[in-house]
């Protein structure tokens, strides 16, 4: 069940420009989402997008800055759910910038999905059931 999303994209712009777009609240608001971001480790902030009931997300992301390496790396927690106080998605978003050919290779990593992983591994981990049964469940989950 555990899956991570990793996307790499080249931009013909300097790492300074890309970093600016990733860390300036006004610029972030233009391409990403409205926010009260600050590039300081430990800073808690929110992103606000339109609600997506189809995936049980009210459009609010609860974040904490985890890592800041100017023009190289930015990481924050990324939590969300269907309504305030209910977190289904407990993940981490990491941006990595690498200078390349007069531009920047930007890597986005969306990892964790603890919400799912915990639920499903807790199913698998329940004790008192025969191994055969657990294997069958794992097979079922793999086919999803």
């Amino acid at each position: 069940m555990q899956r991570d999303i990793v996307i790499e994209l080249f931009f013909p712009h300097s790492t300074a420009k890309v970093w600016e777009a990733l860390t300036t609240p006004e610029l972030l608001g233009k391409w990403f989402m409205k926010n009260d971001f600050k590039a300081e480790v430990g800073h808690h902030f929110n992103f606000k997008d339109k609600p997506r009931p189809g995936v049980a997300w009210d459009g609010i992301v609860y974040c904490e800055v985890l890592e800041v390496v100017p023009q190289r790396k930015l990481a924050y927690s990324w939590k969300g759910g269907p309504k305030p106080g209910v977190i289904n998605l407990d993940t981490t978003l990491t941006w990595t910038l690498t200078p390349q050919d007069n531009g920047t290779l930007l890597k986005l990593e969306h990892r964790g999905y603890k919400g799912f992983k915990n639920y499903f591994s807790s199913i698998i981990m329940e004790k008192g059931y025969k191994l055969k049964v657990l294997k069958r469940l794992e097979e079922v989950l793999k086919q999803l």
Binding site: L9, S122, L144
Partner: protein, 106 residues
């Protein structure tokens, strides 16, 4: 999107319901046979079965006088929707970032 009374996450949050899913992963079972696995009344087990059914994680089929419970794979699929959603979401956002950077450079 289907309208369901209970979301999958709430359904799976309970240990008894997780145990029911594990039992059903092995084979389809009538509610009575399921109930024998638990130290609780049959109505109590039925209640959990109802929750799982409403969340879409299991199906219930009548066979003779018995009602058989079985896993419903489509129900599990809902949790994988997040992945599909975010894959598209990030690609859309990165496209916007590219446009912003291009516009600012002109």
């Amino acid at each position: 999107m289907s309208k369901k009374k209970l979301d999958v996450f709430q359904a799976i949050a309970d240990p008894t319901r997780r145990a029911i899913l594990i039992l059903l992963a092995a084979q389809a079972l009538p509610i009575n046979a399921l109930a024998e696995n638990f130290d609780m009344s049959r109505p109590a087990v039925s209640k959990h079965v109802k929750v799982l059914h409403e969340s879409g994680l299991i199906r219930i089929e009548e066979s003779g006088r018995e009602r058989y419970c079985m896993l419903n794979q489509n129900g599990f699929r809902e949790v994988t929707n997040w992945f599909a959603f975010f894959e598209k979401y990030w690609n859309d956002k990165l496209h916007l970032l590219g446009k912003l950077l291009d516009d600012n450079n002109q």
